[in-house]
Structures are given as C-alpha cells and as structure tokens.
C-alpha cells in the first residue's frame, strides 16, 4: 500500500531554483555562485548549492569543506552544511571522490545519470534558494540538468562572462541555449571587469571592458553589474572564507552585494 503514496519530492521545500551558466570556462561561475550564496545568507536566507561540474568541482574548496563526507538519510543524500548554522548546504561530486586528484573520466551517459540523482536524491529540506553551479558549455551536464529541473520550474539563469569578445562570443551561444530550453535569463554579470592597482589606484582593463554590458543590451536581458578583479576575493576563495562577512570594504563587495539584492528584489516582486 505504501508504494502507492506519492513521494514528497526532495525539491518540494525549495522556494527558488536558479542556475549559474556561461558558455565560457573560467569566468567566475563558481565564484559568483559562492558569493551569491554568502550574500543571500547575510540577508537571512537559507541557501543550497548544487555543483553539477563533475570534472572540475570547485564548490567544496570555496567553503573549506572539501574533506567532508556525504551521508544518507531516509529521503536520500544529506547535503554538506558549511557550518553549524546550517544556513548554507552543498552537494558536489567533490565529496564523493576518495582522492581529490582522481580524475572523473566519464562519458555522457554516466554524467547524466549522476546529475539526475543529484537533482532528485539530495534531501535539501526547506531552502529559500537553490543555486545550481554548472561547468562551461552547452552539453550533457546542461541538457540533463535543465531537463531534470524542468518540473520544478526554476526561476531562471544568471549568465557570467568576462568583458572580452572571446568570452562574450561563447556566452551568446549560452543565451541561445536558454532560449531553446525555455530557461528565463535573470541577467548577465560582467566579471573580472577592470583591476584597480592596490598600490597606486590606477585602473587597468586587463580583460577589456564593457562586453558583458553590451551583450545584455543587445540581447534585451537585464545587466546585473560589473565585478572588478579583486585579489582579496581570489585569496578569500582559496582559503574558503566568507568574503561578504570579512571584506565589506574590498573592491568586489559592492558589485556582489548588488547582484544579490537584484535577485532578492526579483523574487519579492514575484510573490507580491
């Protein structure tokens, strides 16, 4: 008789699901996912991050929990909490590897199977936001993640780019991917946008400037802002620290806080 009762989905308690995408690698998807989660937490929200980058899982280290294990409960896998507060929880293949240097050399079908499990079998409980961090590209991981999440009606996607044309070129394709899969674009972030020398305050556009903003205008999607290169941010991520809490005066802070605020404003508009 029990088998006829509908199972309560593990995502039933998640209010908003958003994806962080980019056609391009190394533009800061995991960084933005991490800082967005930290900012939302500081606004009193409960946040989860689902890391579906199976070949290069960066999220566990960014919270200094890479040595943690995943346990099971009756409803599935228990996500890893980053601290006793339990306000941020994570799931990543990084937690399932015996040795962190082991390469996950899988072809598509195996990646797809794990992603389906990650979407369905993690016991997130009640969350205000579930952020899904993705690898670069428009392939197996992206197709499978969007398909698996579709019944749960994700809020949409944040697209991350760096300013130069070579990155923007890939992100244009990601916009097409969103269009084709019916995923709403919440906005574009232009990351690594300028570097202010800490010694003399001279600003150098190491990776050019403006490409992300132009793309947003051209594509008719919201522009969420420019985040500058900030060695303190890089250092903070290396050490798994809470940048939002510890470095509010650092150059990247205002932009990162602004991105989170826009997401919050967007969701409160939705409910009103």
């Amino acid at each position: 008789l029990l088998s006829f009762l509908p199972e309560r989905s593990n995502l039933a308690g998640v209010r908003h699901i958003l994806l962080v995408l980019s056609g391009k690698g190394g533009v800061g998807k995991s960084t933005i996912s991490t800082e967005l989660a930290l900012s939302l937490r500081h606004s009193g929200k409960k946040v989860g991050i689902l890391d579906v980058d199976l070949c290069g899982p960066s999220i566990p280290c960014m919270f200094r929990v890479q040595d943690n294990d995943v346990h099971q409960c009756d409803s599935g896998w228990v996500p890893v909490f980053v601290d006793q507060d339990k306000s941020i929880s994570l799931m990543s293949i990084g937690f399932l590897l015996e040795k962190p240097d082991d390469a996950v050399v899988w072809r598509g079908p195996k990646k797809n199977a794990l992603i389906k499990q990650f979407v369905a079998d993690v016991a997130w409980g009640d969350l205000d936001f579930l952020i899904v961090d993705t690898p670069p590209g428009t392939s197996d991981e992206h197709i499978s993640t969007v398909e698996a999440l579709r019944p749960y009606k994700p809020l949409g996607a944040i697209l991350v780019t760096t300013p130069q044309a070579v990155s923007v070129g890939d992100v244009r394709r990601e916009l097409t991917f969103c269009k084709k899969t019916g995923l709403r674009v919440l906005g574009i972030v232009e990351n690594m946008s300028g570097f202010v020398c800490p010694h003399c305050s001279e600003c150098t556009n190491i990776f050019s400037k403006g490409g992300g903003e132009e793309l947003a205008k051209h594509a008719g999607v919201p522009f969420l802002g420019c985040v500058p290169l900030d060695p303190q941010l890089s250092q903070s991520l290396e050490e798994g620290r809470d940048f939002i809490q510890e470095f509010p005066k650092s150059s990247a802070f205002p932009a990162l806080a602004h991105i989170a605020q826009q997401i919050l404003d967007g969701t409160s508009q939705q409910s009103s």
Binding site: S30, D102, V104, W106, P109, Q117, D170, Q235, E238
Partner: protein, 323 residues
C-alpha cells in the same frame, strides 16, 4: 529510492580505457557499462586504419589541455601555432575540438570563414600558407548558434575532423581542447592512437582552485598513457603599467604550478604574466607575439614554444633511433 552504487562506482571505476572496463564488479548497474564492455573504448580496426592513413604525414602532435576552464588554452594554442609557423619551412595545423565554445576562429582572425569541400576532403582554413585551422566555428552560420550536443555527437564530429580534413603534410598538429576530462578528451586520445601523440602541454593559472583541476588532468594523462611535455603557468602576476608594482591577482596560495610540478614530477615549461594586450590581440584575431614583441609575456611565450620544439625534436630523434 536512491542508491549508493553510483557513489561507490566513482571510486571503484576501473577506468573507461582499462582492460576491465565494463567487466569489473563496480561496473554492475553503471549507465556506461554497455558502452565500456562492448569495447567502445577500443577503436574499430577499420576506422583506426583509415585514421592512420590520413594522419600518416603528421610528424608531431601536441595536445593543449587543462582540467580548468579559462586559463588560456586557446590563447596558448593560437600563439604556439603562430610561433611554430614563423619558420616558413614548417607546415602547422591547428585543430580546435572545443565543440561548444570554439574560440580559435576569432583568435586567429578567421571569424566568418567557412569550410570548403574538395575531392580530397574538407579544406582547412589558412591563416598563412603554412598555417591551417579547423574548428566547428567554421561550420556555424551565426555567432549566436549554439551547439547543444551530447557526447556521442561531439565524438562523431571530432572523428570527422581527423578523418575528413585534408591536412596534407604537416610538421606540427596542435589540438586545442575544452576544459575537463570527458568525451572530447577520451575520443581525441583514442582516435589519435592511430598515429602518435608527442605529448600534452597543460595550462594552469597559479591559484589552488585551478591546480586542483589540473592535477586531475595530469592523472588523466597518466591513465591514458599520454606523455606530459610540461605545464605552463599563465596569468602569473600582474605588473601595474603605472607604478610597476606587482600584484598577484590569482594568488599561488599553495605554491603555484612550480610546487605542483615538483610534487608530480612534471616539467614547468614557464610562467607567463598577465598583459592586457594579450586579450586585446585575441579579440582582434592578431598574434600577440607580433603585436607586443617587447612584452615580458612575449619572451615567456617564446621560451616556452622553444622548449616544446626541442622536446619534439628529441622525440623525433628518439623515434628515428628506434627505427
């Protein structure tokens, strides 16, 4: 009902190219089991013969890899191609197998070019007489076109690139790859086993978040018996053009590529500093080496290219000795 079997098989997977692929205990229930057990890992002999024939006139093959995205693989591949092609007597080919994010056409100033077919196959697009390029980018009609393909279809195109492109006689075949350790990487190693690969150049940036992915890539190379020519540490420090002070924008918190290379016993080919002109040149489709000959980054790149050339020459010499 969930299962732990996938979690276990992450650790116990014998590897897709191992003799035990699909047959080990941990393979039970794995979604890839049929693929592995059916010898998908082993190349079809007729296909292998076809590829061997097509690639017979390639003297040296270099793969440019990284576990990590955005560290400068395509930038390096493009500059390596320009650097090697500076010797007009050498014939250089640059193959871009990043199917979802093909950067090479733009970087080589070939955006908008199309692939032409002849009786002998697909013609590469030539930047110089002695430098030909192939990329999925040339097969797309609009910059907004997304290639939303699963693994098997990507593999098929990579095979076509090797089988159907009329490269002619080449001294150096450079293969630019997407980040990761997945279909594209397995396939290129599998298809190129028909010829030989001199080795892989692995690109990283100094910080641990990159190195942790790059260690996986080095382990991938070991797993598939691909020699590692060496590692390039890109974005290694930034010198402010105004005050000349150095900033470590991507800090080497765990010793950078130098420490990693020591630990893993691979060569560090060189370190390249950040230079805003690099990105600009790539966006314009020009060679940074020609546009900024005085930049410290240019000297670093040139030294690295020379070391790779020397490695290939020794390798060739070694092969000749065996023959």
């Amino acid at each position: 009902v969930f299962s732990l079997s996938l979690a276990l098989s992450v650790a116990d997977c014998p590897g897709t190219s191992s003799a035990q692929a699909g047959r080990a205990a941990a393979c039970q229930g794995c979604p890839n089991q049929k693929l592995c057990a059916g010898g998908a890992a082993a190349p079809d002999p007729a296909e292998a013969a076809e590829l061997r024939e097509r690639l017979r006139s390639v003297k040296h093959t270099i793969l440019v890899l990284s576990g990590k995205g955005g560290v400068g693989k395509s930038t390096f591949s493009a500059l390596l191609a320009h650097g090697l092609a500076a010797d007009e007597a050498k014939q250089v080919a640059l193959l871009d197998i990043d199917i979802c994010g093909p950067s090479i056409p733009k970087m080589m100033g070939l955006e908008g070019e199309q692939v032409h077919q002849s009786g002998s196959g697909w013609s590469p697009v030539y930047v110089e007489e002695n430098l030909g390029v192939m990329s999925v980018g040339f097969l797309l009609s609009s910059p907004d076109d997304a290639v939303i393909w699963r693994g098997p279809k990507k593999n098929g195109l990579i095979k076509q690139f090797l089988r159907d492109v009329d490269w002619g006689e080449i001294d150096y075949l450079i293969v630019d790859t997407p980040p990761g350790t997945s279909d594209e990487h397995l396939s290129i190693v599998q298809y190129l086993s028909a010829t030989h690969i001199d080795g892989a150049v692995i690109i990283t940036t100094p910080q641990e978040v990159s190195l942790q992915d790059v260690r996986k890539e080095i382990n991938f190379c070991r797993k598939v018996k691909l020699p590692v020519i060496g590692v390039v540490e890109n974005m290694s420090g930034f010198i402010c053009p105004k005050c000349k002070n150095e900033s470590q924008i991507f800090p080497p918190t765990t010793g950078g590529a130098e420490k990693m290379c020591q630990n893993l016993n691979v060569s560090l080919l060189g370190k390249v500093p950040l230079d805003p002109q690099i990105g600009k040149s790539c966006d314009k489709g020009q060679s940074f080496l020609s546009e900024a000959p005085e930049s410290p980054a240019t000297s670093s790149y040139r030294n690295i290219i020379q070391r790779i050339q020397e490695y290939c020459d020794q390798h060739h010499f070694h092969k000749e000795k065996i023959n």
